[in-house]
């Protein structure tokens, strides 16, 4: 069985890519199963999806903790301790990453899917690109079946004809750029997990209550960002419009009255960019 785990951010096509890979595998006669991780979904928040591919019936369910392949949609997640995308990756495992410079070293495949998607599709949604690259690297599907799966799944999520066509071109290009590494089927099951004993605890522990009030600042929301607003202080007039409009109070005024962005918590909504009357805010990589 091949176990594929995909990590990305809400809106990048992580779930759809999983669907494309599994459909492409079934078109080649494999048994496959795909499922997304569900949580408090938000655009930009880390998400994951899972694909199992096997010659026999798939007898595993739920999250994949020891994948053969990790597909990373966003390089900024690589260093995230909360996401830890490489956790449990098997020794002979493969990483397919959306980043440049492109090339394959050992079991790491790098493809700049985002740039290619922006050029060919006009937006940074890399579901078709990453799915095609992954299918090729795994050697599980011929290009015609990958393209057929891309078409089916993108129509399923409601993409217009012209966008489907652009994504097909993108998928074909990405498929051709990646070598077939041919990851070997793993017979061994998922890693075993040690168990703990649960004892009865005093009331304040054993009741689901929160005593440390005001702890929400400990949850840094900056990790949800897909774009970073940057203020050009040579233009900024300290008019405070961005400070007023920021919906998350992630912009404060320093001692001189200049706006400062709290990147630990800025979610990258870019409302400041939209509202800045003199265009002193630019959009950069997260």
């Amino acid at each position: 069985m091949l176990r594929v785990r995909l990590h990305g951010r809400g809106g990048q096509g992580t779930k759809t890519a999983g669907s494309i890979i599994s459909l492409a595998a079934t078109l080649e006669g494999y048994h496959a199963q795909d499922s997304p991780m569900y949580g408090p979904e938000r655009r930009g928040a880390p998400v994951a999806s899972f694909v199992r591919i096997s010659r026999d019936q798939v007898n595993e369910r739920g999250y994949i903790t020891s994948p053969d392949v990790v597909v990373l949609f966003d390089r900024s997640l690589a260093s995230s301790k909360a996401v830890d995308p490489l956790a449990g990756l098997r020794k002979a495992g493969v990483l397919v990453a959306n980043e440049g410079p492109e090339g394959t070293e050992g079991s790491v495949v790098r493809i700049d899917a985002s740039s290619r998607a922006r050029r060919l599709v006009g937006r940074d949604n890399v579901s078709a690109a990453m799915a095609a690259a992954t299918c090729r690297a795994l050697g599980i599907s011929r290009v015609e079946n990958v393209l057929s799966a891309v078409e089916t799944e993108l129509r399923e999520v409601g993409l217009a004809d012209q966008d489907v066509q652009k994504n097909l071109a993108l998928a074909e290009e990405c498929y051709s750029l990646v070598p077939a590494l041919g990851v070997r089927d793993q017979d061994s099951p998922e890693a075993e997990h040690a168990l703990a004993e649960v004892r009865y605890a005093p009331h304040y522990v054993s009741t689901s209550l929160i005593m440390s009030t005001g702890n929400s600042p400990q949850k840094k929301t900056g990790g949800w960002r897909t774009s970073r607003p940057v203020i050009d202080y040579s233009k900024c007039t300290n008019c405070m419009v961005c400070f007023v409009y920021c919906p998350d109070s992630a912009i404060h005024l320093d001692a001189d009255g200049a706006p400062r962005i709290d990147y630990d918590n800025c979610k990258g909504c870019m409302i400041c960019l939209t509202e800045c009357p003199i265009r002193a805010v630019s959009e950069e990589a997260p």
């Binding site: 669907s19 599994s22 459909l23 079934t26 048994h31 496959a32 199963q33 795909d34 499922s35 997304p36 569900y38 798939v58 007898n59 595993e60 369910r61 739920g62 999250y63 903790t65 099951p189 998922e190 890693a191 075993e192 997990h193 040690a194 168990l195 703990a196 004993e197 649960v198 605890a201 005093p202 304040y204 522990v205 689901s208 209550l209 929160i210 005593m211 440390s212 702890n215 400990q218």
Partner: protein, 422 residues
Amino acid sequence: MTSAKRMLTGNMAAAWGARSSNVDYVCGYPITPQSEIVETLAGWVDRGEMRAKFTNFDSEHSMLAAAGAASLTGARTFTATASQGLIYGLEMLYAIAGWRAPIVLVNVSRGVGMPMILQVEHGDVLAARDSGFIQLHAETCQDVIDFVMLGYRVGEDRRVMLPVIVNMDGFVLSFARERVEIPEARAVSRFLPEYEHPTPLLGDPEAPVAFSPTTTDGFVYSYFKHQLHLASIESKKVFAEAAKDFSAAFGREHGVVEEFMTGDAETVFVATNSYSSIVRSGVMALRREGERVGMLRVKMLRPFPSEEVARALGSARHVAVYEQNLAPGRGGIIYPEVTEALYHSPHRPEVIQSFIGGLGGTQLGLGEMRLMLKKCKASRADSRLHEPVLLFRKEDSDRLAEALRLAGTAPGTASAVRKHAG
């Protein structure tokens, strides 16, 4: 419609089950992780792809009242809910069963708060176990579509006339896609005759009928309650007939239980629902290591297939009952039912041990399977009481400790000590 294999989620399979069964009426109310079912059906009805009436209600209680009443008029009725929604409508489940209204309800299992959770636990569907509904629990997305059709066939049989719950696991099955065969319309029409209520509500204005009047007499209540029990028992026989026809029409076998490698097994794991897949792969892995293990998967939870369970477990030395529910003060809900079935068996296993796991979607793997096997082997036949064992991973325990620390309730943390000193 022709027979086609497609990648479908469990939820989509449920919607296709209703569509393939040519239901006349769909009652909906959204709740995670079920909403995709009623959203899909609403879309199909709206676009004219499905000839049915769809009504969105103000609550699960009203939704179920309407579903039962519609079924009594002779409309094939479908509905779906989950968790708190099923519990909110629980009163109506007893009414629908008492009316002998053969609806099919898909429950997408989700833990019942508190704490509030979206992921799977079977406390919801098992709270409905005594309502009179037949219960079929699905392992795969294909099971979901099959059980909806089997549900109508068995429930609407004049010898039964009972409502049916088809259960699937929230998230693990409801949002997981697998290759599913959507049945061909012609095969469906052979297997599932049109639904006609024998004495329909609002049927003949010259000969009106009323269902379930209030009674103050115990003998009346007692009689009809017992009839409900007998109808449920009768449904097992009807299910066997229906399964035979199902196999002829669609080529898939369904029994009230499934035995996997139980023949020479010393230890048999009892499982239900989608985690049965994981137990099956665990059994295969342990077999490769030379362990004589097997699995009994209970598909029909009501009526409880005691004879089939006793037969399947009769030659085992150890039985490990793995279940995803926890009745506080009791333990697993299925464990005593399995134990009771075996009590009257001439070949009672030496050990019947209860294991609780997968609560809120926590995972099951080979580590847990190995531990269950070890506990069963170490357990002595004369040990006084087989307390349920909670399967809880070390890494989850560590994450819990961190959560308690953040909440300020970990033993010895400042706020805990401050507020609870003395």
